[in-house]
Amino acid sequence: MEYLVFPVIFVLITSGLYLVLDRTLLRVVIGLGLLSNGTHLMLLATGGLLPGSAPIIDGTEAAVVDPLPQALILTAIVIAFGVTSLLLTLSYRTYQSYRTDDLGELHGRLDDE
């Protein structure tokens, strides 16, 4: 089962990296989103994607799923959500100030030296 998820993780992380290297503000934000999603899937896969019951130990269970990675990615998703919204706000504010979403144009234009 994990082997089906790994190609997805690969695609998400590589395309995320490609987008982060772009000059457009918005593409960088989307790239970071893809990157973090790939990482979250990776975290989920570390617990082993096996069929099993909920981890309630009452003596009758056969195989239980490791609940910890799910708790971890829940936290990580919330953090990624917060960071992404902050990043979007910042990009919009930057666009408002400089009327451009091209990082290449932004770069160095405020250098006073």
């Binding site: 990482t39 917060g82 960071v83 990043l87 930057t94």
Partner: protein, 493 residues
Amino acid sequence: MTSNLPIVPVAMPLVAGTVLILLRDRLALSRAVSLLTSAAGLAVAAVLVERVRTDGIQVLAFGGWPAPFGIVFAVDMLSALMVMVTMVVSSATLVFACWSLDEERERTFFYPLFQFLIMGVNGSFLTGDLFNLFVWFEVLLISSYALMALGSEGYQLEETFKYLVINALSSTLFLLAIAVLYSLTGTLNMADLATKLPEVDSRGLVAASAVMFFVVFGLKGGLFPLYMWLPRAYFAPPTVISGLFGGLLTKVGVYALFRVVSLLYASVSFTLPLMVFVAGCTMLFGVLGALAQWDFKRILSYHIVSQIGYMIMGLGLFTPLALAGGIFYIVHHILVKTALFLIAGTVEKMRGTTSLKKLGAVIDTSPLVAALFVVAGLSLAGVPPLSGFVAKLMLIRGGLESSAYGIVAVSVVVSFLTLFSMMKIFRYAFWSEQAGPQSYEPGAAARTVAVTSLVGLGIALGLGATWAMPYAVLAAEQLVDPSAYIATVLGAS
């Protein structure tokens, strides 16, 4: 034995920060609440240091879940010292901020963000769980993004965007490294990892996770070759915020590196030689970068990079003496570097610029500020009897005892170049002819008090090294031999 003391340095800023959001428009009250919280935090941190010294490592297991299952706060001497020095500089910068920031910025939630930043920093120092460390990193980073962009002037937006993207990337890598470790060992408690990691069969994956952590903490700490974001980012915000970041934030990365290397990766073959090599390059390239600059704040920012090399040198040598020197250096650096940034802020308030070409003759109008700069600058370069000298002496002796002559030579050369940089600032900013007009800003007395207290502490740390040293040595011994840490954390209920 279980006491709730370790949670207080985190809980107090959380409560204060939440209250401060509600007090947004009442600036006088906001200032009072912030200052009181920092002062109280300072007292708590002092109690914590003393408690660790007399009773040994303190562990707090949340919800009563024992160590490998629940989240724990584990406070050894290094953690306690870091919290202590955090509270010292946060109190000083807060005093400086209250009398130097413009009202617009103060109203835009400066005080709540400041408290949340301190909460994240303290949490990172205290936690004994790797994923929890990630969460605290995010708490402090998100506050720092907002603080860096506060006011949205000129430089700030562009630099904050870059700073945010770089840190978000390194956080992603942090999560990946955590995923690798969890898939190998099935635990994220650092003490538990320390016992389980040596038994893992696939050494390649352990080495890969080590490299990932080095990149993550190297980026946050500003190590060679990952420091490129630092000098520009720390130039952007108001000087008091740069001072706080320059003193504290990079040191959280350094602390995490100390913790992770000593507990998990000291036995991986390439770790320590790599650390020594990186330390040498960080020192050298940081100081060379500073030589090319003509701005007070930029020179100081490059020196942050250079100084971090010394701390990592202590880690790379990994003997009790060298590590104690590294820890002493961290404490010295946080105090003195913050003081230097605040002096830059004081000069900026007087002259409206930090460019060395436009400054001059500050010594004529404010000899006290010039004197403070001389003391702090000489301490940074390592002139006896100041605190920098003691730290460098320990590091160099540690290096000679381990026959690491290369890194010792680099560190001595870099000290001279640091002295040169400080003389350059003194020559152009404090001496020479007055170039710009003098502007009068209220609150100069309070700002000077903040700087003087930091510089005074730096002097005390140097003169009183005999009394301060046992703390650093104890912290170093706990790092070199983590068995007490592991036993205390895993044995706690």
